[in-house]
């Protein structure tokens, strides 16, 4: 009989301990972000969609079509065509920089391979679309402009202050 009563006592005690935890959490500040209205502040290194930003100093992108990024990509999401001048000689520019964002792992290996800091992973994570073809994009033709702290971080990279 005493065993039965002590079991009841232990049971009620453990349930009250659990309820106590729940009540304590009732009075904690919620950490929920009301998503589409409030967006999270992403850190600088967050890896969103790949972009080829335009250098504000020169007005053009920094790609020389060296193809190191395509060789570093684990799954072949980058396909680059070198530009060819009127005399038939290749120019250090990308005529077409095909980025298959549907194939991309967002691993950052291409950004790290680039010796000219021509590409960077931006903050864009809302890249949902209804047709698959729009996932493939020509980054050289996009003329993406970085903004804010991401821009100053990118500019500091090719001045040799911090590796990507």
């Amino acid at each position: 009989m005493t065993g039965y009563l002590s079991e009841i006592y232990d049971g009620i005690k453990s349930l009250c301990a659990g309820l106590g935890v729940t009540l304590k959490h009732c009075f904690r500040k919620p950490i929920t972000l009301q998503y589409p209205e409030e967006k999270p502040a992403l850190p600088l290194r967050a890896r969103g969609r790949l972009v080829m930003p335009v250098d504000p100093a020169t007005g053009a992108n920094r790609c020389t079509a060296c193809l190191l990024c395509a060789k570093a990509c684990p799954n072949g999401s980058l396909e680059i065509t070198k530009a060819v001048g009127e005399d038939g000689k290749p120019k250090p520019r990308a005529a077409k920089y095909l980025y298959r964002s549907g194939n991309c792992m967002y691993c950052n290996l291409c950004v790290e391979a680039c010796p000219f800091a021509a590409i960077i992973m931006s903050d864009e994570y809302e890249t949902g679309t209804r047709d698959r073809e729009s996932l493939d994009a020509d980054l050289a033709a996009e003329n993406h402009e970085l903004k804010g702290s991401k821009l100053s971080w990118w500019l500091s990279k090719f001045k040799g202050e911090e590796p990507s």
Binding site: L67, A70, K71, N75, G76
Partner: protein, 151 residues
């Protein structure tokens, strides 16, 4: 039993040759039919944990090399038992009576390399769907395999 005694025992098995590598891994290369005996002896000397059973395809030498990796939590050393099978008809005795973990590892090796483990209690595919045979062999072809840019 220390490593040199175990090594001595291994070298006494007909057709086997044991050595200790530079990273202090006890490496034994033996014919396939001696492998269960060797593994049982190693288990008795303290190598109680079988990490994995897998294989390596060597088409240039026409062989498939099976690898059994053991670990002793007592002496904190590794042992690697290898055996070479004929690539056209690879067959080895199952060790799942000695290490029960080998049951699943051998099933996976069998379907990936086309190796037959005789005496296996429950053979059959583990991971692969129907229609895919021995994909980890070097001559496996599939229409979706595409080469990547050379580095």
């Amino acid at each position: 039993m220390n490593t040199s005694e175990i090594l001595g025992d291994m070298n006494r098995v007909p057709g086997a040759s044991g050595s200790v590598g530079p990273d202090s891994v006890l490496d034994v290369l033996a014919p396939a039919k001696e492998v269960p005996g060797i593994l049982a002896a190693l288990k008795k000397s303290g190598f109680g944990h079988l990490s994995f059973v897998t294989a390596k395809d060597l088409p240039s030498e026409n062989l498939i090399e099976l690898v059994y990796r053991l670990f002793s939590y007592v002496s904190r050393t590794d042992a690697s038992v290898r055996t070479r099978l004929d690539r056209a008809n690879p067959s080895a005795p199952s060790v799942s009576g000695i290490f029960r973990t080998a049951e699943w590892h051998e099933r996976e090796t069998a379907e990936m390399f086309g190796v037959e483990f005789s005496g296996h209690p429950c053979p059959g595919k583990l991971l692969l769907p129907d229609g895919v045979e021995a994909p980890l062999r070097k001559d496996f072809k599939h229409e979706e395999m595409t080469p990547l840019p050379a580095v």
